[in-house]
């Protein structure tokens, strides 16, 4: 029995592991391999160029621009969806009327693909008849109306705003789940000890939400590192690379310029950055869990 159970375990594990190897591990190794070549994507022939691609990448202004934008995205992702989601969750948890309706409404964007969201926000940002400019003109702020996605200084924030609109709902749901896990005994005890609502929120509820915050922030960071679809749909990284992210840079180098080797090198760099972030998050999470359950 013991032996056949092991066979079953291995058998079942083999299926996901082989899929994982084919769709994740192998392409990853290929990227490492191609990052050392000058492959153009079309040709069956290519040369090994050693670390040339990596030397070039750190001199490339478009790459540093993409790094900068990705960092901006990451910071925004930590602040906006987390803050907004926490705020909504606290409000709805307080027992607002029709709370379930609001919960569904705020969660609704998660069920849409980012391509659809991007298209909807393109209409919102449309300079002539888009919702945003029309509202601005109606309330007398017409001087702020602009071609949001066509200007280098507003394209990136505009795309991040569209993306955050979806992410806030996700953060809200995770925080709501976290809130239901806060024992009412604790908040009641705090009230008996004379804490007002603000104090009980600050010293009891929010610390208890730490596991939920960790999940939300980790998701935000990881999603910001791979931000591509919404950028591709809304601006393709434009105008003139002002909304390029690392993933967009990678796509442009590989599939627009046909620098497959060079694009692979940028993929490797992105992978290393993600690795550092994930390692950092992992250590932090382990520590956080220890302090909570001690």
């Amino acid at each position: 029995m013991g032996k056949s159970l092991w066979l079953w375990r291995i058998g079942f594990l083999a299926v996901p592991l082989s899929v994982y190897t084919v769709v994740v591990v192998a392409p990853l190794l290929y990227s490492f391999y191609y990052s050392l070549t000058d492959w153009n994507g079309f040709s069956p022939n290519y040369n090994f160029v050693g670390l040339d691609n990596f030397q070039r990448i750190f001199r490339d202004p478009l790459f540093s621009n993409a790094i900068e934008n990705t960092v901006i995205w990451m910071i925004a992702a930590i602040i906006i969806p987390t803050g907004g989601g926490l705020f909504l969750a606290l409000m709805l948890h307080e027992g607002v009327r029709l709370a379930n309706l609001y919960k569904s409404l705020f969660y609704f964007p998660i069920s849409l693909s980012l391509a659809v969201i991007g298209q909807v926000w393109i209409w919102i940002y449309q300079p002539r008849w888009g919702l945003l400019n029309v509202v601005l003109r109606e309330v007398g702020l017409g001087q702020y109306a602009r071609a949001w996605l066509a200007k280098a200084d507003s394209a990136l924030p505009a795309v991040i705003a569209a993306w955050s609109w979806q992410q806030i709902g996700l953060a809200m749901v995770i925080f709501l789940a976290g809130l239901t896990a806060v024992p009412t005994e604790l908040t009641e005890a705090a009230q008996i000890d004379g804490a007002n609502r603000r104090q009980s929120l600050r010293y009891v509820v929010i610390p208890m939400l730490r596991p939920a915050s960790i999940v939300v922030i980790a998701l935000a960071v990881i999603n910001s590192l791979k931000s591509f679809d919404v950028v591709y749909v809304m601006t393709k990284g434009g105008p003139f690379h002002s909304s390029d992210t690392l993933a967009m840079f990678m796509y442009n180098e590989c599939f627009q310029k046909y620098y497959m080797g060079y694009g692979s090198a940028s993929a490797v760099v992105l992978f290393l950055i993600a690795l550092v972030v994930v390692a950092f998050y992992f250590v932090w999470q382990m520590r956080a869990m220890e302090t909570i359950y001690e």
């Binding site: 056949s4 079953w8 058998g11 153009n40 994507g41 079309f42 040709s43 069956p44 022939n45 449309q126 300079p127 071609a147 996605l149 066509a150 200007k151 280098a152 393709k236 434009g238 105008p239 003139f240 690379h241 442009n252 599939f255 627009q256 310029k257 046909y258 620098y259």
Partner: protein, 425 residues
């Protein structure tokens, strides 16, 4: 019990795979697989009709087509070729892009087909030499081509008191001034996807420095900081500075620019003849009545006349599994005048086959055809004339320029830096 479950899962899987297999090898039916980017408004219906006609006249053939969006196509074909699972034939843009794939060894020459089908006899010589031959061999069968010209709203021009179409640069500036005085934006440009701006660069360069210099620049033998290119940007900048362009060009697509002209908020737009397909079909304008076309004005006397446009064609992959059947289809798509006519009408294209009756064309398309015939040179537009990584750099420059033309000298320097990297200068 467990073993039986395992076995039944296994047999189901094997059976499921078995169902798929027989479709692939069906006796003596000749099959052709084909990938193309003519989806949606770019002629999908017309192409379906053409394939139906092919099936009707070639009952033993099966054409498996796969339409992909214009932008997604560039990625899709790359993946299929690199994965050694290419379609037999695919649609592609003549010029630097075909050259790129030819140089990568992914395409098969079709000189034998050229001879046997007598393709030289049905094509204008300029198209044969310019679009079909790469490294001395024939690779591409032209399917349709386009001409980029100045499409204008006749009513708007008449309302602004414009009685004669501009032939020189000074006359063109006058026309712009009149339109502006009449309260419409003289020129609409939708450069959100960058490429629509390239026709301005192309024509300004061709009308001043001429086709030979342009060919040098496209091949990396000239520099983006040359006085010839600086002059182009200065001429272009004058138009922007005078407020002749509809504002925020980078916020709009080419169809938006077409809409602006169609509703009379702008006077004209420099665009390819596919605009007529959009205007006639989707918007419902009447060619020759609502709109017309004129060639880009002469700037410097004595420069050879050139027209700009892309040529769409079919190429055969080096690893095509059904090469002979595929060649039969390629020849049909060019030599069958009915298919050529359906295509020209459906997509708003010009038919490369010279035997196509010009009666199929709208008056505007006939004018476009005459302009092309009268020109000394047919030049590919920028992103098809220069190699793809260079084209990316140039297209970026055009979008940047339309956002703020004042920094053109910096943009040219940046573009030249890209050129140095691309051409290894």
């Amino acid at each position: 019990m467990r073993r039986r479950l395992f076995l039944s899962v296994l047999t189901t899987l094997v059976l499921a795979l078995g169902v798929v297999a027989p479709v692939a090898g069906q006796g003596d039916v000749k099959q052709v697989t084909l990938l193309h980017y003519f989806s949606g408004e770019l002629g999908f219906d017309a192409l379906s009709q053409i394939f139906n006609n092919f099936k009707a006249s070639h009952p033993d053939y099966i054409v498996l087509t796969n339409p992909v969006g214009h932008e997604e196509f560039k990625t899709q074909i790359l993946i299929m070729l690199a994965g050694d699972e290419p379609p037999d034939i695919f649609s592609y843009w003549a010029g630097a892009r075909v050259q790129f794939v030819v140089d990568a060894g992914r395409l098969a020459p079709i000189d034998d087909l050229w001879e046997s089908a007598g393709l030289d006899a049905v094509l204008p010589p300029a198209i044969v030499s310019g679009a079909t031959i790469y490294n001395g061999q024939h690779y591409l069968v032209p399917f349709g081509y386009h001409y980029a010209g100045m499409f204008y709203n006749k009513q708007v021009f008449a309302d602004a008191g414009i009685t004669e179409l501009p032939q020189t640069w000074d006359q063109f500036l006058e026309v712009c001034e009149k339109l502006k005085a009449a309260g419409v934006a003289p020129i609409a440009l939708g450069s959100k996807n960058r490429w629509p701006a390239q026709f301005w660069f192309d024509y300004l360069l061709l009308r001043t420095a001429g086709p030979e210099y342009r060919a040098d620049l496209m091949a990396g033998r000239a520099s983006y900081t040359d006085p010839q290119v600086v002059r182009v940007m200065e001429l272009w900048k004058e138009l922007v500075d005078k407020g002749y362009f509809y504002p925020d060009a980078n916020a709009y697509d080419w169809t938006d620019a077409g809409d602006l002209v169609a509703v009379g908020e702008a006077g004209m737009t420099l665009m390819g003849t596919w605009l007529t397909g959009y205007w006639d079909g989707t918007v419902g304008l009447v060619p020759g009545e609502d709109y017309d076309v004129f060639p880009f004005p002469v700037i410097d006397e004595g420069v050879p006349d050139a027209v700009v446009g892309p040529v769409d064609g079919w190429v055969l992959t080096a690893k095509a599994k059904h090469a002979e059947a595929a060649k039969e289809l390629m020849a049909f798509l060019l030599t069958d005048t009915e298919s050529q006519a359906i295509w020209a009408k459906g997509q708003g294209a010009l038919a490369p086959n010279i035997n196509v009756d010009t009666a199929i064309y709208s008056p505007v398309m006939i004018k476009a055809l005459d302009i092309v015939k009268a020109a000394d040179t047919f030049a590919f537009n920028y992103d098809l004339a220069t190699t793809p990584p260079m084209a990316e750099g140039g297209l970026d420059m055009f979008a940047r320029f339309m956002d703020d033309p004042s920094g053109y000298e910096t943009y040219l320097q940046d573009t030249e830096n890209v050129a140095k990297e691309v051409f290894g200068k």
